[in-house]
């Protein structure tokens, strides 16, 4: 069930009504778990078993780790933690990477003259698996680290992992953020209603108006990139630069908004990444829940900044490489991750070499503008392997742009200039400015809410026809 589907439009009010009408906190949480299972089963009920397995193993691991800690059995708790992480990663690897490894193994064997038949069965990727396995790992690690130091009930573990707004594409919420909110019965507040509605309306605007309107143009060019001119390839790459931001940020905002309608706060997943003036800053603003997860659960355990310059560089590349692989089983994602890691390592090295960490506050205007241009150009170019279907397609797009190909073999395509420039510019400059304002009293909230509903209806009026899935659902 997609957020932008008609069935979700019917599902959400029913679940909201059931949740808020239920008197007790336990009943509400149980109702939400059941609703989340229904939400997941609407896609494929068979994978509910897998979700249940992840919940049960995480629940068992968190209890066992706490047991071990109470008995001061540090080694045993570490063993339990690794078993739990191993199980989650096995589940993830099997469903997500089996086909990729098999295809590459068959290809490799055939190049050395050994013929091997691929298995007939293709493994179906369970939607949201990358997100809920990361939630599971988060809870186990946080329990081991002592950040979660009380026994979490099975119901709370189930809700933390399977809560439907963030089940299929995040944000990846920390156990320390979500579990305390489950402890008390949520109160229905006007502020929550307003902020949630504002997030949902913005999310839908991003998704069904901007992203879905840009998508047909981008899809057409990336379908056969060798047929198009350098200008069109550049426009399509810029189109994808806008599309993925609106699509994933749109999804995240709807998830945050829907969650807030139930009284639960989820952290922001984006903070105007296209305003970033360095790649490090970009990753502190883009898919924040994943990048900070990789930092806290991978980069820092690998040694982080603590083991000298060369190891710091190595850790950055490994972290981003694994971040690329997390996105999907394809050479394109590996290249995308490795390239980001390499550029981040170079950026960090230059800062260490100069002995000064550059922030937006201590840089000159010229440096900021130059930094923004370089950063965004790198981000733009690196979206090419992320979007292209194959490695050959990526090369076709890059060569077409850099050789400024003028001959075109495909049918003419008009560039939707207004869609590519206006929304992204307005979002990065004006909306960013408005959102950075300090809090002020919300005068005439009912009038503002009425206007918000009017905007929501106007978004529906402009919405793109047809149902297009969110890009991040494939991860």
């Amino acid at each position: 069930m997609l957020f932008n589907s008609a069935s979700f439009l019917l599902f959400l009010p029913v679940v909201l009504a059931g949740y808020w009408l239920w008197p007790g906190n336990f009943g509400r949480k149980l109702f939400l778990v059941i609703a989340s299972c229904f939400f997941y089963a609407a896609w494929d009920w068979r994978f509910l078993g897998l979700l249940g397995f992840v919940v049960l193993t995480t629940f068992a691991a968190s209890w066992l780790i706490l047991d071990c800690k109470e008995r001061a059995a540090r080694v045993q708790s570490l063993v339990v933690l690794w078993i739990c992480i191993g199980l989650q990663l096995t589940v993830l690897a099997f469903f997500k990477y089996f086909n990729f490894f098999e295809d590459n193994l068959v290809a490799l064997l055939s190049t050395i003259g050994l013929k091997s038949a691929a298995s007939i069965a293709r493994i179906l990727l369970p939607i949201g698996i990358s997100f809920y396995t990361f939630h599971a790992i988060t809870l186990a690690v946080d329990t081991y680290r002592g950040k979660v130091n009380t026994r979490v009930s099975l119901l709370d573990v189930a809700l933390y992992i399977a809560f439907f707004p963030q089940l299929v594409a995040g944000p990846i919420v920390r156990a320390t953020v979500f579990l305390p909110q489950l402890a008390t019965k949520r109160q229905f507040a006007g502020e929550d209603l307003f902020v949630a509605t504002q997030a949902i309306v913005t999310g839908f605007l991003y998704k069904v108006v901007f992203s879905d309107s840009i998508a047909p143009f981008v899809d057409k060019i990336f379908e056969r990139p060798a047929d198009y001119t350098g200008l069109l390839l550049l426009a399509a790459t810029f189109g994808f630069y806008c599309q993925i931001y609106f699509d994933f940020n749109g999804y995240s905002m709807i998830a945050i908004g829907v969650s807030r309608l139930f009284g639960y706060k989820l952290p922001d997943n984006f903070n105007f990444p296209y305003a970033a003036t360095s790649l490090g800053s970009f990753w502190r603003r883009w898919h924040i829940s994943l990048s900070s997860w990789l930092r806290d659960y991978l980069y820092i355990p690998l040694g982080g900044n603590r083991l000298g310059v060369s190891k710091q560089m190595r850790n950055l590349v490994i972290t981003m490489l694994l971040g690329g692989i997390w996105h999907g089983a394809s050479w394109n994602f590996i290249i995308w991750g490795a390239a980001h890691g390499t550029v981040l390592a170079i950026e960090r090295f230059s800062q260490i070499y100069r002995g000064k960490i550059l922030t937006e506050e201590n840089r000159s205007i010229t440096s900021l503008i130059l930094g923004w241009l370089v950063t965004q150009t790198i981000v733009l170019i690196l979206w090419i392997p992320f979007r292209a279907k194959t490695l050959a397609d990526s090369l076709a797009v890059i060569s077409g742009i850099f050789t400024w190909r003028t001959m075109m073999a495909g049918a003419p395509v008009a560039i939707p200039i207004t869609l590519l420039i206006l929304p992204i510019f307005c979002d990065t400059v004006f909306v960013r400015l408005l959102r950075s304002q300090p809090g002020k009293p919300l005068r005439r909230p009912e009038l503002r809410f009425g206007l918000l509903i009017l905007c929501a209806l106007a978004v529906g009026l402009v919405a793109k026809t047809g149902l297009r899935s969110f890009i991040y659902f494939q991860f």
């Binding site: 008609a6 069935s7 439009l9 019917l10 920390r174 320390t176 305390p180 229905f188 507040a189 006007g190 502020e191 209603l193 307003f194 902020v195 504002q198 309306v201 913005t202 605007l205 108006v209 309107s213 706060k265 989820l266 952290p267 922001d268 924040i288 829940s289 900070s292 207004t418 869609l419 420039i421 206006l422 929304p423 307005c426 979002d427 909306v431 408005l434 959102r435 950075s436 304002q437 300090p438 809090g439 002020k440 009293p441 909230p445 009912e446 009038l447 503002r448 809410f449 206007l451 509903i453 009017l454 905007c455 209806l457 106007a458 529906g460 009026l461 402009v462 919405a463 793109k464 026809t465």
Partner: protein, 397 residues
Amino acid sequence: MTVGILGTFLLLVVALLGGWSRSTRLTVDGSTESSTELARTQLAAEDPAHAKMLVAGLVVLLVWMVGAHFWLPLPLAFLNTTSAQVTAFCVEHLHQSRPVPGEYILIIEGSSVTTRGVDGAALERSLRSAGIPVTVIQLSLSGANHLERLQLLQNFADSLSSSDWKRLRKSRLILGHEVQALYDRDPLLNYGNNPFTPTTLAYSNPDNLPTLLNWITGRYDLRELWNRRSELQLIATQFLYNALRISYLQLWDTANRAAPCAGFQPHPKRADFQPAGLLPIDFPPDPILSGRQAYPRVTRWNAVRDAAFRSIFKGAVRSELFFSLPGWLAYEFNYDNWWSHAHPDQLFFNGNGSQIRSRLREPGLWNDPGHLADSGAEIYTEEFAQFLRQNWPAQSG
């Protein structure tokens, strides 16, 4: 162009409304930003009452729906569909035919069997040559469900000028209904799955909701309704989408002025239709279905449907006629024969009668087992015209 500008404007308005900057922003590790936290503390006492907000939201929703009803007519958003093109053709045809005193106007409505089997122009020529001053308006549509057929008639009626209405009232208006076994037993057939007019969803018009509910409750019991739950969900969402005018602007943007398209769409024989022999003249009766139990139960809602179709013409319909088309399936054959016996008072041209079936035995006259090919349509129209010539004066004068 419109989408980019309007969308950006909406983005600014939503951001200007200001709730985000007031709200506590949560970081990934759960801490909050101090400045906004402070603002939150100061504002805690004047937290807006959610009840007032909900009322305001509902009022806006209501005003929007009423405003949309008057200012954003649904058919305008579906101008590029076959339904709109057929309507345009029929209105044009009515304007082209010269009104004569004592004239008849025959409106034929139906689904794909009529679209491929009844040549409205040939029927009109044949009847006129026999001295009947008639204008045939063929408002049939391939794959159309019942509500779509209702909306098609409605679109036609809405497109008529006051002088057209005057002419309709002065003439002897006959409404011709297709009788078809699969359609007549199921008000939801082809509801959300019309392969021919995939975007003609204007029929899920909130104005049509009472009519549809009337048909559904007249046809199904609770158990049957449960079995059709996925279709009912689809219907509910289609109505909701149209009531709120979701995607209206983009539909309207892409809708060109409807290029007229005739209701009669002849098809050649399909290459993959290769029956073993000739069309059987008849089939043995089906004791279960024609046992006067199943058919009456599943078709009792038809009278309500026909009344709804009739009501669109605001009392101008003088009489009705019914017609069916032949087919290779025993079920349809038995149904038509049951229909002719069950409705002795209705003027009914049975397309599955032995005379016409004997003329349509060659597989080459068929597009597929359920539809006539162009050459078959010619024969069928000829037989239909002859039937009307013989029965006309007595029934509709």
